[in-house]
């Protein structure tokens, strides 16, 4: 089963929405809301779009704002969906 991690999250966001060099998604940043890391709702929509294509999953719009609000929340949400898809 494939899993999703912070490194992959950062890689996707670097390529699609841009990430400043001093922003990491681990450690202190893991639970910081994306908004406070400088990412707006468009950035999260684009992130969801990229993940949907890469993993062939559907992410409802409300999940983007409610369940993927920080790096840890986003990773956990995507992994939960991957697990659900396998089960």
């Amino acid at each position: 089963m494939s899993t999703f991690d912070v490194a992959e999250l950062r890689e996707i966001m670097s390529a699609s929405v841009g990430v400043e060099d001093d922003v990491y998604f681990d450690g202190d940043h893991l639970d910081v809301p994306f908004a406070d890391l400088g990412f707006d709702s468009l950035a999260l929509l684009e992130l969801a779009s990229q993940i949907q294509r890469r993993y062939g999953m559907q992410i409802p719009d409300e999940a983007v704002t409610e369940d993927m609000s920080s790096p840890r929340a986003a990773v956990d949400y995507v992994n939960s969906r991957l697990v659900a898809a396998v089960a």
């Binding site: 929405v17 841009g18 060099d21 468009l42 929509l45 684009e46 294509r53």
Partner: protein, 414 residues
């Protein structure tokens, strides 16, 4: 003539130039004085299948490192150029943005094409892969106000922002609007403009106006007022300017003053109405409280179309007399930059005023007999300069004129 700073509602205290002639104000200015062209064969895509092969590209600019990493994939190249130029302009102005209330700072830029290269890329994804492949940032990256918005957000300028879309006249209209805001509540306006539409989609859209040069020889491709004038070369880049309300704070920092401005609009040639250019220039002079003899140099629109060249030459002769004022068009080194073109002309004119030198026009060798101009050619002409008139016309009838006065910034080393 109005010579006091107090009479001007706007002084230009900072500039950032990113143009085919150079990245950075002084690099551009030195290239202009040396007559070094930025025009060459298009490298951004293979132009061999297109009727236009030459352009003024901005070489030596990469967004990475010049533009916040987050904004690079979110915005078009035209916005990248403006963000970097705005950073340079703000730094150059030496203004302390933190000391100004955020609602008393505004951004007004000119744009002509919007984000065509970004848009083309997303259109390719749409047609090749499907709707879900179109990036979320297409929603904001392509449209004309994107640059103004991104500069506003980056610098925390929350005053009355806007964008003007008047093709090549846009740079003057943006500065004109900035001056209007400075007469109101605004104390600082980031203005000027850039454009970058050198992709197949962008170029094809430009071809429709029928005025582009299909020449292959860069030195003979853009020849305004010349008997061989056969269209212009497109280019990218422009200039971003910091305009401020003059006061004790701006002393010693002003490149120049916006003394007068007017805009007009030509009707279709089919109507037989006279072109509005001469009247527009007169209104700009009146606005500046200048008479024609007060103008020391004219930066021409220089369309390099036989009809448009004659209209401009006749307008200048009507207002100033034949051969009565030095005229120049450094834009033959860059091509026409659309939303960035007149902004760059304002920057170049301000540098000319600062240093007391009229840059020459490279290219034209034999002027048309119906263009009785003192076109400065062969070498820059050094002379004390107090005022400059900048003329700009945009495709479709846009016509603008601006009178600039010398500022109190010390001259550069030339």
């Amino acid at each position: 003539m109005n010579t006091s700073t107090a009479g001007a509602a706007a002084v230009i205290t900072g500039m950032g130039v990113i143009a085919p002639t150079g990245v950075g104000t002084e690099e551009h200015w030195q290239a202009v004085l040396a007559g070094k062209t930025g025009i060459g064969r298009i490298t951004r895509f293979d132009p061999s299948g297109y009727p236009v092969r030459l352009a003024g590209e901005v070489a030596g600019f990469t967004a990475k490192g010049q533009v916040p990493a987050r904004l690079v994939p979110q915005t078009d190249r035209w916005t990248h150029l403006a963000l970097a130029a705005a950073d340079a302009a703000v730094a150059d102005s030496a203004v302390d943005l933190a000391s100004l209330p955020e609602y008393e700072m505004a951004v007004v830029t000119a744009s002509s094409s919007g984000g065509t290269e970004f848009g083309q890329h997303e259109m390719e994804r749409l047609y090749q892969n499907g709707p879900s492949w179109v990036g979320a940032y297409q929603s904001i990256a392509w449209f004309y106000a994107a640059t103004t918005g991104q500069v506003s957000i980056r610098h925390g300028m929350r005053g009355p922002c806007g964008v003007v879309c008047t093709e090549q006249a846009g740079g003057l209209d943006a500065v004109g609007q900035a001056r209007r805001l400075l007469r109101g509540q605004s104390r600082l306006v980031v203005t000027g403009g850039t454009d970058s539409s050198l992709c197949p989609y962008g170029l094809v859209a430009q071809l429709a106006n029928g005025h582009l040069s299909s020449a292959e020889d860069a030195d003979r491709a853009y020849l305004p007022f010349d008997v061989e004038a056969a269209g212009y070369v497109p280019g990218e880049g422009g200039a971003i300017l910091v305009a401020e309300r003059p006061g004790p704070d701006t002393q010693g920092r002003a490149y120049g003053r916006v003394l007068g401005y007017a805009a007009g609009f030509d009707q279709s040639a089919r109507t037989g109405r006279r072109p509005v250019l001469a009247g527009t220039i007169r209104r700009a002079l009146d606005d500046a409280r200048c008479v024609p003899d007060d103008i020391d140099v004219v930066f021409a629109d220089a369309a390099a179309d036989p009809h448009l060249d004659r209209v401009e030459a006749e307008a200048l002769a009507e207002v100033f007399g034949t051969h009565a004022v030095p005229v120049t068009a450094p834009k033959t080194l860059t091509g026409r930059l659309y939303g960035g073109g007149a902004a760059l002309d304002v920057a170049t004119a301000l540098l000319a005023l600062r240093d007391g030198v009229v840059p020459h026009t490279v290219g034209p060798t034999r002027l048309r007999s119906d263009c009785p101009l003192d076109l400065v050619r062969d070498a820059p002409r050094e002379r004390p300069l107090r005022t400059a008139l900048v003329v700009a016309r945009g495709y479709g009838g846009f016509t603008s004129a601006m009178v600039l006065g010398r500022g109190d910034r010390p001259a550069g080393d030339i």
